[in-house]
């Protein structure tokens, strides 16, 4: 168990011109579960592999528990890792696979047996200990990979998209199981994923990455509620955050969307007469078939029942947004509905830099 300090890490792959990680700095507290989230090619896996020692950075440093490990070989780092492809050893039985790290560390046999039994019990692998990985299902193989990683008492537990090869239902079940296991272990964990729902559900903190840099780092709910820029808002959430072109009125008191005027929050006082982007989540837009005060009319384009809710695609003042309506809401394409944006859930972004506006 240890904290991690990553500072100014730069890595360019040979033959590439773009930096895979571009001056990344990140502090991870002891026992934290940090998720690196981003689209493919954003550098999240590169960052993880540099933590593991499987790639070496061009510059910058990594320290674990106050000790520099930047150029240390993987076997000297006391880390354990769960791979996307499971990477279990196909020629050895499950028991050997789980105990592999311990026997490499030359732990006494009795301790290895005890820990293997403990991990097998925790991950429901007890009946399979004497099988070969080829005789297991994909989900069970992934359990073996997790068991192999957690028996290690490593300083840091690294996970590289461990759930992405599992089918949807299994992934959902194993996700909560994994969260509980890691919470009980209290090991510092770095988890890489491109799945935003995994990131939100698992992480103590989420680092959203884009083009080799960290776009936003924070509590999952903060990242979801108040994205630092348009990219983060668009990447996190399903459906992604709506972004509506709007302008602040000359006196700063009203937000103008097309022909409609909304009351502007006080934040916008200092941005009078500027174009802004209004960011609002689909579930933060109230819908009604009747007009009440302060509402904005919209035309329904698509109706998608999702079971627990109905997802509407609505055209508002020439812009298309997604709105989440309660499952009892009845409407059909072409009809007009009235939308209310709740003032507390509106976020504002600079129309050019797409960065969140702050009071000034």
């Amino acid at each position: 168990m240890a904290d991690i300090t990553i500072s100014h890490l730069v890595k360019t792959y040979p033959g590439g011109t773009e930096r895979a990680t571009d001056d990344v700095s990140l502090d991870i507290a002891d026992g934290d579960f940090t998720v690196l989230l981003g689209p493919s090619g954003c550098g999240k896996t590169t960052l993880l592999r540099m933590l593991a020692g499987l790639e070496l950075p061009d510059s910058g440093s990594i320290a674990v528990g106050g000790k520099d490990v930047t150029y240390l070989p993987p076997n000297k780092r006391n880390m354990s890792m769960v791979f996307q492809s499971y990477a279990v050893f196909p020629h050895r039985k499950v028991r050997y696979n789980i105990g592999f790290g311990l026997s490499m560390a030359k732990k006494p046999k009795e301790e290895i047996d005890r820990k293997v039994a403990w991990a097998a019990d925790l991950l429901q692998l007890g009946p399979y200990l004497d099988r070969l990985p080829a005789q297991l299902s994909g989900g069970q193989r992934q359990r073996v990979a997790v068991a192999r990683a957690i028996v290690m008492d490593a300083d840091v537990l690294l996970m590289d998209e461990p759930l992405s090869n599992l089918d949807a239902l299994l992934r959902l079940n194993f996700r909560s199981e994994l969260k509980k296991i890691v919470k009980d272990l209290k090991t510092t964990t770095v988890y890489v994923t491109h799945d935003q729902s995994e990131a939100l559900s698992l992480g103590d903190r989420v680092a959203v990455m884009r083009k080799g840099q960290i776009a936003q780092l924070g509590d999952p709910l903060d990242v979801y509620d108040a994205p630092a820029d348009r990219f983060v808002g668009g990447f996190i959430g399903s459906p992604p955050m709506n972004f509506i072109k709007a302008a602040v009125s000359g006196d700063g008191g009203a937000l103008i969307v097309g022909d409609q005027r909304l009351r502007a929050p006080s934040l916008l006082q200092s941005y009078s007469s500027t174009d802004v982007l209004l960011g609002v989540r689909a579930e933060n837009v109230a819908v009604d078939t009747q007009r009440s005060s302060g509402d904005v009319p919209g035309t329904v384009l698509v109706v998608e029942p999702m079971g627990s809710s109905i997802l509407l695609t609505v055209e508002v003042e020439g812009q298309t947004i997604k709105v989440q309506a309660p499952p009892t809401f009845r409407t059909s394409p072409g009809s007009t509905i009235w939308l209310t944006f709740s003032p507390n859930s509106m976020r504002f972004y600079d129309s050019e830099t797409a960065m969140a506006l702050v009071a000034r």
Partner: protein, 289 residues
């Protein structure tokens, strides 16, 4: 039939069995072709074995008995007892195993490097490897014979081992490179993260996974060495390998001797393949039967 049914069923067309018959005929033809081809391969081996294991007199019988009625080890015994044969047999084994070991020692790391690392001139290197095989063995052997004469290696099994290693290396390297490519790099990385040194990861994880493929490469090497005759005849005089020895004495030998020689040449290769076959087909508990 239930009473609620009001509309009668449409008349069912007659079953057309022609496609089924065609399928059965094709299968039968395929089986027949397999049997014919197998016989083409197996009958000579059977006849040689039969002749080698028959008495010398029965070879001259007419009509020749096609069943092993006159089994005897007399012919084979005479063959093995004739001058130089046992020695040549030993030489062949030494050369075959020596070639296998040295080419594995050099070829497996080279194949691993080809599979795992990017280095300058990798493509030309692979092409260049094959050039050794592009040269006829005679062209290689004559300058080698001169070289070995000067360094006092001429007429030793070492000389033949070196030649056979040179001949086997290209295939050993290329086969083992493709074998290592099929071992996922993740598994090796996992071994590294869980505490292995690079050599440890190679020996504990990569090698066992690559073993079936490497066994195939070594069969290839051994059989190549066992059967190679031209280079071995040029590079040795008194320390011939079995094929070279048999070849030189073939022309002026009795018929029985030739059969026994052929038998002795075929059998070790077959035994070796049968032994290594386990590694070829028995992969990670899923035996191909």
């Amino acid at each position: 039939m239930t009473t609620t049914q009001t509309k009668p069923l449409a008349p069912q067309p007659d079953v057309d069995t022609a496609p089924l018959k065609r399928l059965r005929r094709d299968r039968a033809l395929l089986q027949a072709a397999c049997i014919v081809i197998s016989l083409f391969m197996l009958v000579p081996i059977y006849l040689i074995s039969l002749a080698a294991l028959s008495t010398r007199e029965s070879l001259n019988d007419f009509p020749l008995s096609l069943l092993p009625t006159n089994l005897s080890f007399e012919t084979l015994g005479a063959f093995l007892g004739s001058t130089g044969i046992l020695g040549a047999f030993g030489n062949s084994l030494i050369v075959g195993i020596g070639t296998l070991l040295i080419s594995a020692l050099i070829g497996i790391p080279a194949g691993y490097a080809l599979a795992r690392f990017a280095f300058p001139a990798k493509e030309p290197y692979q092409l260049f490897l094959l050039f050794t095989r592009a040269l006829p063995i005679v062209v290689l052997s004559v300058p080698l014979a001169r070289l070995f004469l000067t360094v006092d290696l001429y007429d030793t099994t070492y000389a033949v081992i070196l030649l056979h290693t040179a001949l086997a290396l290209p295939t050993t390297i290329l086969i083992s490179a493709s074998v290592f490519l099929s071992v996922p790099i993740d598994v090796e990385e996992a071994a590294r993260v869980f505490g292995c040194t690079p050599a440890g990861a190679f020996l504990k994880v990569v090698m066992p996974m690559a073993l079936p493929g490497l066994a195939a490469a070594s069969i290839f090497t051994f059989v190549m060495s066992w059967n190679e005759v031209l280079g071995a005849s040029i590079l040795t005089l008194d320390h011939r390998t079995l094929p070279a020895q048999v070849l030189t004495s073939l022309a002026d030998s009795p018929l029985a001797y030739r059969f026994a020689g052929g038998f002795a040449l075929v059998i070790p290769s077959i035994i070796f393949i049968a032994f290594m076959r386990r590694y070829l087909t028995n992969m990670w508990g899923s035996t191909i039967r």
